[in-house]
Symmetry: C2
Subunit: 505 residues, 2 copies
């Protein structure tokens, strides 16, 4: 950060230096935004919301103004011609990307979007448990109205389609045509695979763990497992929020989970998932912090970290053997905590309402459903009022589940839409595919990987992720990152192989 922002003596790239200083300042305001947003979702009392929305809206406007400051245009042009090293060149590419996306949107739209999302997300917190779609829908409509205008303007600026333009903000380089190709294939084999696995699992019933599981013990267990996974508590925390998330800043990562005393697996597996996000953030390269090159590469790559932790590592037979004695320590011995039973429990495939509680096999169905709703919604081919019926249709056909009248566990279950994050959902399943590819690569390089994990040695996983993903941050475009890390482009076959190997052998 310091190296990039302040040159020593006379610099031969003054325009680049000016850009780096401007983006360092932006980084610091983003810090405030991250912490205040975390507070908004964790500790803020209800009546604080109006003033908070106004304050966050003011900050969003300021950040927008900083990212679109008139002098940046000339500085960008001048920096292109300056003598820069590879790192600076990559940073300039990322700066340009941020600048281009920001310049596509007028400030009043940025403020309106922030306010609409803030209001809708806040209302969602009480409306979701009340199953109150009627009050929620007009608030969501306001968000969608803003998002459609954003999509239109971003599409005009980038030459992409509306949905592609939104998705590009989370997943640079990814296009709906590619998502269609990948998801189309998944839709072909997924229902059959689910049936086959369920038939097989019906013959190997798992013993359910018996509660209650005191929340204090769950919290202690989650923190213990986070330490086992090398989360740095001197640079982060675990708190509670209705919808678990990973927030904060790389120097101070804020993870959340949620507890109910009749189940511990939800909080524990959720925590392992967020710990994957958290370690990626905590290990963003220190020397580049403050500059766009230090940012996580994309949301799918981010999700590949949480799923590497939760799905690839956390639900492996090897890891569950390590977890078993910790569960006994936390809640007392019971037959359910025997390692093979744990594996049966935490690889159980069962269609359900809730995406975040879904197993890794049915999970893609939840994502495909959302993708197939949010894409026409953004493109104006669908209205908010049409969502519940379409949601139910797709849940019926993909997972055989009836969601009529159940908004709480239907279209109101996620924070993404109320928060204005359209174009994000595909990243989850793309992330699952990347994670499968990372582990295939690790195992090819280190055949003892699973035996090491079973012994409680996770260095094979962490070292590979550190070197190939975390330390690379945004140095390369996603496709190049993937090729350098795994020797080839994203190949969904790894995901299918992973599922077949875990569930059908």
């Amino acid at each position: 950060m310091r190296i990039l922002a302040y040159s020593r003596g006379v610099s031969n790239h003054p325009a680049y230096d000016a850009l780096a200083a401007a983006f360092l300042r932006i980084y610091r305001f983003e810090h405030l935004q991250a912490i205040v947003s975390w507070d908004h979702s964790t500790y803020m009392p209800p009546n604080g919301n109006e003033a908070r929305a106004a304050a966050l809206g003011e900050l969003a406007a300021l950040l927008h103004r900083l990212r679109t400051a008139p002098e940046l245009k000339d500085q960008l042009a001048a920096a292109e011609g300056e003598s820069l090293d590879d790192i600076q060149r990559a940073n300039l590419r990322e700066i340009t990307r941020v600048w281009r996306n920001s310049n596509a949107l007028p400030e009043e739209l940025v403020v309106a979007s922030s306010l609409a999302a803030s209001r809708c997300e806040h209302a969602w917190r009480t409306l979701r448990p009340a199953n109150d779609w009627k009050t929620f829908a007009p608030l969501l409509r306001e968000v969608v109205t803003c998002v459609r205008r954003e999509a239109e303007l971003l599409a005009k600026s980038t030459g992409l389609s509306k949905y592609d333009a939104l998705m590009d903000r989370f997943e640079p380089g990814m296009r709906a045509a590619e998502v269609d190709r990948v998801f189309g294939a998944v839709k072909q084999w997924l229902p059959g695979l689910i049936r086959e696995i369920r038939a097989r699992q019906a013959k190997q019933p798992a013993i359910a763990a018996k509660g209650p599981f005191p929340i204090a013990a769950q919290r202690a267990l989650c923190e213990r497992v986070m330490k086992l996974l090398a989360f740095d508590f001197d640079a982060g925390r675990l708190d509670v929020s209705p919808h678990p998330f990973s927030g904060g800043v790389p120097e101070d990562v804020r993870l959340t989970t949620r507890y109910t005393d009749d189940d511990f697996a939800g909080s524990l597996m959720g925590t392992i998932h967020e710990t994957g996000h958290g370690r990626y953030e905590q290990n963003r390269p220190r020397a580049w912090l403050g500059q766009p090159i230090s940012e996580a590469r994309s949301m799918a790559i981010h999700e590949s970290q949480s799923l590497s932790f939760e799905m690839q590592l956390g639900r492996s037979r090897a890891f569950l053997g390590v977890l078993s004695p910790l569960l006994i320590e936390a809640f007392g011995a019971q037959p359910a905590f025997e390692p093979d039973n744990l594996f049966r429990l935490y690889t159980k495939v069962e269609p359900g309402y809730i995406r975040v509680d879904a197993d890794e096999v049915t999970y893609p169905a939840h994502v495909i459903l959302r993708y197939e709703i949010e894409r026409p919604l953004v493109e104006g081919d669908l209205e908010v009022d049409d969502i519940p019926a379409l949601w139910d249709d797709k849940m019926q056909s993909l997972l055989g589940i009836d969601t009529r009248g159940n908004f709480t566990n239907g279209p109101m279950q996620d924070v993404h839409w109320p928060g204005g994050a359209f174009g994000y959902f595909p990243c989850y399943t793309l992330g699952a595919m990347y994670a499968a590819q990372w582990f295939a690569t690790m195992r090819a390089k280190r055949p003892s990987l699973d035996a090491d994990i079973a012994r409680g040695d996770f260095s094979g996983v962490f070292d590979w992720l550190q070197a190939n993903i975390w330390e690379q941050a945004s140095r390369y475009p996603t496709d190049e990152l993937c090729r350098r890390a795994s020797g080839g482009p994203l190949d969904p076959a790894h995901f299918k192989t992973h599922l077949e190997s875990r569930y059908l052998t």
Copy 2:
């Protein structure tokens, strides 16, 4: 807020409107500062500090720039000549005060001060328990260097002495000459009064409460008493920090306390104290929020609220009778919880090391000591290295206590100096004097006040404070507020009468 900021149709005071809009924006950025600062003192993990200090420094610089924006000067001049109502006129007076104080300081000094204070305060959190004055002193020196420069520039701009200029930021209109006069009188009668009270109390020993007092029960008790005192939990919270404070924003007030399981009175009385601050903030006039006229009048007036709650109300015989059954419910029955014994316990006078734990009789000694150190420190007649010896001298002569080598409970006990808040301490004792004056006024108007309190009816206190202090905010200068509320100027005789009546009758 809306009325002030946005005129309807064509305004006949466009300059005033522009100022109000600018200060509304400042209010929103101050919201972010308040929440992030609260997080800094409550939940932030240690390694987050460097990035946090940089982010808060950036925000301080922005706020300074907004408060000193070049267009404000002409707008202020133009607004003076506009047709304004009384409220707008008072708001303009407060806007001018903020503007004048901010314009006295260059941005780089504001940033340097924020950084130095942020670093020193952060280090203080670990250095204080380690009794490490040696590491602490150079960090404090950096803070003092900044504060001296601030004092010099503020003095030049206001025509006040250096210390007066600093104090004026917390207590507009108060001067060291007045403080000298008031504190000089207190020093005359205080040692004798302490001796007399202690001799008397020696004959009426109190039964100590027997612990341990589980922290979960203390927390529940504190929240219950806050509700009894009408704190609005939909617009505020209680958390934990090493040094209790009241922070946040009027729409979302953040109080803190600290717990140890061998004593509950510290957390409980501290919470009652902060609740007084909190209710003042929660009841700042809604219609003016966002404008300087809505701010609390001054720090002494603020402290008069916390001391009205803690000392005047909270430790009265009448209130302790209401508290008694709550203590029994929280911790089980024991002889110590009998109301007369509680009164003996919580009015016990005993010279001690710690200001925040001091009884209301010895408390002024702690404040006088700090005032007599920080004033020459600011004026350059004393250096940081001289503090420990002078601290010990004064503790010996005022309270007969030896603090040599005890930095933890000596000059390192308070957050004020590491945080750069020089000129603040006198407000505590001035606040105690105002609080005594408020209660004398209340009792004159409502002779049944104490009988009502004993029945659990605190409306006599809350209604009077609401009408005379909270709703007035910064509408009048402090002296006028005091005259309107109590019929006369600040009269320290009320404080002496209160102490004599509570402790010697």
